[in-house]
């Protein structure tokens, strides 16, 4: 009787949904099918007949069913079907074969998603704004948005303005002043740019196939990047990709399919690459293109050995530093730290709001950067400009002054650190006979010795914050150039000499450290999402318990270090270190490709943003795409740009304004613990599908589900869910339901987490360490087994102290001359002193972009193109900007906005010149990561006018024993462009740069 009632209830639910909901009626029109639910013994059941948009039903077991859901026993059927549905019970039942589908996977997914649609017919999202528009919410990489929509069209996008219902804001009291953040969110330029990105003319609106690609005949691989495309149907596209996936496995075996994504997808915990994409890729089995710790680089391969923090990719603790800096610091040294350009990461202009408070307090500020950067422009202060890559020498000279003039915290060094003597022997010249004096550094850096002494003395005499890198304690800047690991190492050694963790003495630039209530649980994008992956995300830590899901495991253990992907494809073999942040020692392991017994890669599944503009010596990727070893390339992308032009099949994904998701602003989960401490309010959003996907584009989730279904993996991949059902599951898994109802959350679109009570705020970062307490900041790292002393005592290092001389490096390879146990200075392997590079005398620095976010926001005919400092419209094209010093321009006869050729042996890019005094002579500046790659002739053999300056950057890893990009610096020459299109590529790396006999650098 119970089962009868439940199934009859299901029928009534379908009827109700049909009556009530147009989306449900539309769904029913997509399939005529007879679905049966029954017990395995055939004694109980009911059939549902879906025909021409109508549903009818009969009790009993029928042989005419197209698809059956079969439960092992009557009792099990009752238990699993009785509302409310318990997700853990469902999943356990699936794993234990308590029910199974009979029929096609496609029908199984359709029926399950139909049930989910029926259950959710009352769900309404968005709020009527009163002017005919509906206001929705979403989150972007550049901040949260209100999205106003009318008649299926986005009218406007704005920041979120809080109201009185929302939680209060924090206050900071310092020097008799009270600082409160504004009652709204902020947006970075690429966050304020989404309307033009959604409606970009290069949106991919239909699946496409290269015109001369025939999967069953001639593939014409050499025409990748040259031939055009023709539209195909989704059915054709799904069939084609699914059949290539099967063929790869059949013909070559495990490992033949590689998958590669950009580092930042469109926002949202369900649709993220570490979520839906990982679930799908694990389900089909792929070779992972393993990321380098991009943007962290020097911190991960360098600083981590001195102070631990492997789970922060070598960065420092963020807690309380914002408040401590305002209250206790007297001076800040910004060193290769330009947060006004990069806004930390993801956080709009939240940090700028707080750095403005620094101006009000009149702290002494120093900027060390070859470029008078945007932060220096905003905050003012003393500008010290070392030549690129030479900062470690400057740092050593500061240490030298401190040592010679007794200007450091001797008690701290004696009690909290180890190995100081070895390092001071080097700094004072006892080790190698060369004193690392201010005069010594002057020839390297170009900074006068007197300025170094003045800086060193003032620094030591004041409570000083060191702001190293874009986030102040990590990220970007000089960490991305060839001496990046030397630089981060000297940075942490300097702050250790001054007493890291004492009041007013710490690492930070006001970008991190907002006093949130971190105990309010809402997962970040790397906390596993729907990936099911317990090995490669933080899923196992919390979310797996809170949101049970079918686990996924990638059957292929083959990995390719991302920077070596072209070598792997073209040469058929490569090797390299892996980023494994769990421990300090994780980075010492190497991957060898091909992995034992695995197939080399023959198919590449590219997903997400174009990455061509972001990776070093980008012409290598052009060659890779045109290699016959790559038999099939599929690219799942929103826009037609960068590397989509090298695909055989293009799958058009929609933006996150056209699909449903859920996420928290700037919460990256394990990829960047406490990144949300950059934003002034924790904002969690129901990310509405604001408009239907444009054209025939689909959400990434639906694309993966479509392919998975053709592989019989649809039920496994979807668990019968639509994306919005996963969103509801994540809502339920978080702490949100205790504070806001699902209904209100969908309608209002966001929730502001109340700030931490003032008396419960976390103590300041490293203060516990400075004062010899157990760790009392809220971070569950390092791993419990990675402490040397008692749990919670000391740093992650072997000695549990700050190590000037690193035990981990002594253990691993003490004779590695590129990464010695104590930090030393050695000249960059890319620089004017390299004889083979004499033709290219200019040091080009290419930091992260200011207006676009990697390739997001740039190109696409977006509004950003009109920004004078981003691109310049000349003769019918928006050219990328290269900045050069007045003297360098004069020597070359270059005037403002001349089109110039920036070139070296690796490539040539046509840019618009901007002439400035903000750079020291000999240094030129251009942002990395243009979205456009537009070779004017044959790809790889012609000049690019897209602005892809990474065509010019060196592919060499910073140090031999790392997988570390060094594309922050390239030696180049610049001349006025004479219109020549042809470019002849020569050796991309010289012998002096560490080429071995075979011509490839390990």
């Amino acid at each position: 009787m119970k089962l009868y009632l439940i199934l009859y209830g299901m029928y009534l639910l379908f009827r109700f949904a049909c009556w009530r909901n147009a989306e449900f009626r539309d769904r029913l029109k997509t399939k005529n099918i007879r679905v049966q639910i029954r017990t395995q013994d055939g004694k109980h059941g009911r059939i549902f007949i879906f025909k021409d948009g109508h549903v009818s039903s009969k009790v009993g077991v029928h042989s005419s069913a197209d698809f059956s859901l079969v439960f092992k026993t009557y009792a099990i059927a009752v238990k699993l079907l009785m509302p409310p549905i318990n997700q853990l019970e469902q999943i356990e039942a699936m794993k234990n074969f308590l029910f199974h589908p009979e029929g096609k996977d496609e029908d199984s997914v359709w029926f399950a998603q139909t049930v989910m649609t029926a259950i959710s017919t009352r769900w309404k999202h968005g709020t009527a704004a009163g002017d005919g528009t509906t206001r929705y919410c979403t989150i972007t990489n550049g901040g949260p948005l209100f999205v106003y929509v009318k008649d299926e069209k986005i009218v406007r996008t704005t920041p979120i303005i809080f109201n009185n219902d929302d939680a209060m804001s924090y206050s900071i009291h310092a020097h008799g002043k009270t600082f409160n953040p504004p009652r709204q969110t902020s947006l970075s330029p690429h966050g304020m740019n989404w309307k033009s990105m959604v409606y970009a003319p290069n949106r991919l609106l239909t699946p496409m196939k290269r015109v001369d690609f025939d999967p069953n005949g001639e593939r014409n691989i050499i025409n990748r990047g040259v031939s055009g495309y023709e539209p195909i149907s989704w059915d054709e596209a799904f069939d084609l990709v699914a059949s290539e996936i099967k063929r790869m496995k059949r013909d070559y075996g495990q490992g033949a399919i590689a998958q590669s994504n950009g580092s930042h997808h469109t926002w949202g915990n369900i649709g993220y690459y570490l979520s839906a994409k990982m679930r799908f890729m694990n389900a089909i089995g792929t070779t992972e293109v393993h990321h380098n710790p991009d943007s962290w680089e020097g911190w991960y391969w360098g600083a981590v050995h001195h102070w631990g923090g492997s789970l922060r990719v070598g960065g420092g603790e963020p807690f309380g530093t914002m408040e401590d800096c305002l209250k206790n610091a007297e001076m800040i040294v910004f060193w290769s730290s330009n947060p006004e350009a990069t806004n930390g990461i993801y956080s709009g202009f939240e940090g700028s709001i707080r750095r403005k408070w620094l101006k009000e307090l009149d702290l002494k500020i120093v900027h060390i950067d070859p470029h008078l950067n945007d932060t220096a422009q905003f905050l003012g202060g003393k500008w010290i400009a070392p030549r690129p890559t030479t900062s470690p020498a400057l740092a050593l000279a500061i240490a030298n002054v401190w040592m010679n003039e007794d200007l450091y915290d001797k008690d701290y060094v004696a009690n909290r650190t180890q190995g100081f003597e070895a390092w001071s022997d080097y700094v004072l010249g006892k080790e190698d006979g060369v004193e690392k004096s201010p005069e010594w550094q002057e020839q390297e850096t170009g900074v006068s010795a007197k300025d170094v002494r003045a800086l060193a003395r003032e620094w030591a005499s004041k409570r000083t914050y060191l702001a190293a890198g874009g986030m102040g304690n990590t990220f970007g800047g000089a960490a991305r150039n060839p001496t990046g690991s030397q630089w981060t190492r000297t940075m942490v050694c300097l702050i250790a000499m001054q007493g890291l963790g004492k009041p007013g003495i710490n690492v930070g630039n006001m970008q991190l450290g907002v006093p949130h209530d971190f105990s309010f649980y809402f997962p970040g994008y790397a906390d596993g999402g729907i990936s099911g992956d317990l090995n490669n995300t933080a899923l196992a830590v919390s979310l797996y318990q809170r949101m049970p899901q079918l686990a996924t495991i990638n059957p292929s253990s083959q990995k390719i270090p991302r920077l070596k992907l072209p070598d792997a494809i073209i040469d058929g073999h490569t090797e390299g270190h892996l980023w494994d942040a769990r421990t300090i020692e994780g980075q010492f392991s190497e991957a060898v490709y091909p992995a034992p017994g695995h197939s080399p890669v023959h198919m590449l599944y590219r997903y997400g943003n174009s990455i061509l503009g972001t990776l070093s010596d980008a012409n290598r990727y052009v060659s890779m795409y045109r290699s016959p070893n790559l038999e099939f390339v599929v690219n799942q992308s929103i826009w037609d740009e960068g590397d989509t032009q090298f695909a055989d099949v293009i799958l058009p994904a929609c933006t996150h304004l056209e699909r449903t998701d859920i996420g928290e602003w700037a919460n990256a989960g394990g990829y960047g613990a406490n990144f949300n401490s950059q934003v002034n309010h924790r904002v969690i959003a129901f990310q509405s599908k604001c408009i239907e996907p444009l054209g025939e584009s689909k959400s990434d989730y639906d694309i993966f589900a479509g392919i998975a279904t053709r592989l019989g993996l649809g039920s496994y991949f979807t668990e019968g869910m639509r994306d919005i059902d996963w969103v509801k599951r994540m809502f339920d898994a978080s702490d949100l339901p205790g504070h806001i109802s699902w209904k209100k959350f969908m309608q209002k679109g966001y929730f502001v987490v109340p700030p931490e009570r003032e008396d419960l705020r976390s103590p300041t970062a490293y203060n516990w360490f400075a004062e010899g307490r157990k760790k009392d900041v809220p971070e569950a790292m390092p791993l419990p087994g990675d402490y040397t002393e008692e749990f919670g005592e000391g740093l992650q290092t072997q000695s549990s102290k700050f190590e000037f001389e690193c035990e981990s490096l002594k253990r691993y390879n003490p004779s590695d001359d590129e990464r010695t146990p104590i930090p030393k200075y050695s000249r960059s392997w890319e620089g004017p002193h390299i004889p083979e590079l004499k033709e290219f005398p200019l040091r080009m620095i290419t930091p992260h972009g200011r207006y676009s976010f990697h390739t997001q926001g740039d190109g696409k005919d977006s509004y950003l193109n009109d920004i004078k400092d981003h691109r310049e419209w000349i003769d019918g094209h928006y050219y990328w900007i290269i900045r050069l010093n007045t003297e360098d321009a004069k020597i070359r006869g270059i005037k403002e906005h001349d089109l110039v050729r920036v070139f070296n042996n690796r490539g040539a890019v046509i840019c618009a010149a901007h002439i400035t005094s903000r750079l020291i002579p000999g240094v030129v500046h251009s942002y990395e990561s243009s979205a456009e790659y537009k070779p004017m002739g044959k790809p790889g053999e012609s000049v690019d006018r897209g602005g892809c300056v990474n065509l010019l950057s060196p592919s060499r890893t910073q140090i031999k024993n790392a997988h570390s990009m060094a594309n922050g610096l390239s030696m180049v020459e610049i001349d006025k462009w004479d219109g020549t299109i042809e470019f002849i590529r020569k050796d991309s790396l010289t012998k002096a740069q560490g080429l071995n006999e075979e011509g490839s650098f390990k």
Binding site: K153, R156, P189, K195, S196, E350, D374, D451
Partner: protein, 279 residues
Amino acid sequence: MKKWNLIVDVENCTNCNVCTLAVQDEHVGNSFPGYAEEMPKHGHRWIEIMRKERGAGSATDVAYLPTMCQHCDDAPCMKAAPDAVSKRPDGIVIIDPVKAKGRKDLVGSCPYGAIWWNEEKQVPQHWIFDAHLLDAGWKEPRCVTVCATNALQSVKVDDDEMLHLIDKQGLEVLHEEYETKPRVYYKNLWRYTSSFIAGSLSGIRDNKIECLEGLEVQLVFDNENVETQNTDNFGDFKFDKLKARGQTYQVQVIDKGKIVKTIDVILDQSINIGEIILE
């Protein structure tokens, strides 16, 4: 009668351009009858940020100046087309998108260069202070909402109160000589319009060249002291807020009450004298 005014703080503009993007977001693809036709996707800068680099070498600084329709009370565009351009009681100037059709001449009527010609729609356009949103109950124009550093602020006050704010905050208008009575006011405009003379003192101490801190440096014009400063720990001094008119200044270094060095400086733009080594 309360009227709208915009206050631009040059000190706080970082050239992030989110204000210019907000204008595009609002007006590209949207027409607001009675207020504005659609803005072309590219080529118009209803808010335009101007850049000024001053000095050279280590004494370089940069200021940004957001410019836009100044909503003048005595607007030349209104005089040029009284039928098509009107002043609202709240101070906002509106170029009527229908009545101004074909009036390309209005572009030239604005001495601030803040009127843009829309070739496709054949209509002159400008930043309308988001009057359409204010009329619908919005609290401020969008460029103000998105400005994280508060470089842009809108205030709706009566003219007397505005006079008080001008006085209190030291506000200025751009090109007062145009005599158009703008409703856009600038704070810290000197960052953009004035010039400086900077330099750095060094000398030998204990056989090493050192920055000379705490020395007196005075700026003299026409035998009169303009300003005296003490060098900072880097030996730096910087006399700012000067008007560059090609005039000659003397920079005098004073040690123990005596002038030990005098340098003549012709000021036609900001100057970094560079390192001055004292014997």
